[in-house]
Amino acid sequence: MKFIQVFIVIMAALALASCSTKISYGDATSVETTTTGFGSTDLQTIAEKLVDDLITFPPIVQMTSERRPVVFVDKIKNKTTEHIDTESITDTIQTKLLQSGKFRFVDMTTVQAVQEQMKFQMDSGMVDSNKAAAFGKQTGAEFMLYGNMSSIVKRRNDTKDVYYKFTLKLVNLESGIIEWASEKEIRKSSEKTFFLN
């Protein structure tokens, strides 16, 4: 009889618990393994590995010890079957490279907004012409960063295996020579398990 009472109390507690919504903040850098899909840990490890590789590559070390080259970041081709925000990966890479103090960047995503602002400064009559940003003074990029992201997905019964490969290259825009390239591979697998086997 007592056992039934305890059981009812536990079930009631569980039912109440399932109705409540608990919100909490977590560590954004912790390992995330919710699914085998592309996740925050993959993005962070890809960015860290490729940035570390680039800033320690001997010819790049030599070049960046003398000057801070200007780089343009092109889009990353997503060849996987997933929808992946590759711009988010290049944003993280760009931020880390800027913070290293080794590179400078030109941002092609803001060209139109910059153009409109400069036109406003030149033509509106509201900005002191001596203090207005002049056309034709911007710096051209010396290098371009670009890359690919691909994946191989395999399934067998309850097992799923996902392999990601992210390749990044740095090309000299004038000579067309690829000055540096690196890859980051990630393997993730999942297996459905049941408590009662």
Partner: protein
């Protein structure tokens, strides 16, 4: 009997929760101005700190950036899966790039060693700490 079982279940759950949250500073390496290393190995009494050993550390400056390699050894007879990350510090002990370095998953088979590597985010760094958590 039921009470004892209930107490045991609560205690087990609590200890699992405590272990799941533990972060250990396994090794701290400071590169002195003369290039020599000062190494401090922490030995906490937590699960991972008992089973993991720092088999060696290597540092070098690549240009003006500190590069570090740390050999982590699984001293137990079980496979250990855990996470590690580098914490980079400048000369005055301030952490550089707070929150920008991710935890990396790693798995080491019994009595095996694995090398982990990191590069300082910028030239102001002269020391680092390797953190592990399960």
């Amino acid at each position: 009997m039921l009470k004892i079982k209930l107490k045991m279940a609560i205690l087990t759950g609590f200890s699992v929760l405590t272990l799941g949250c533990s972060v250990n500073e396994t090794v701290t390496v400071v590169v002195q101005d003369d290039g020599n290393l000062t190494q401090t190995i922490e030995s906490n009494s937590d699960l991972l700190a008992e089973n993991l050993m720092i088999a060696g550390t290597k540092t070098a400056f690549v240009g003006d950036l500190l590069k570090a390699q740390v050999e982590i050894k699984n001293a137990s007879d079980d496979r250990l899966s855990f996470q590690y990350k580098f914490k980079w510090l400048d000369k005055r002990g301030f952490e550089v790039g707070i929150g920008s370095r991710p935890w990396h998953p790693i798995s080491i088979t019994p009595y095996e060693s694995k090398m982990v590597q990191g590069v300082a985010p910028n030239p102001s760094v002269n020391s680092f700490t390797v953190l592990v958590q399960d």
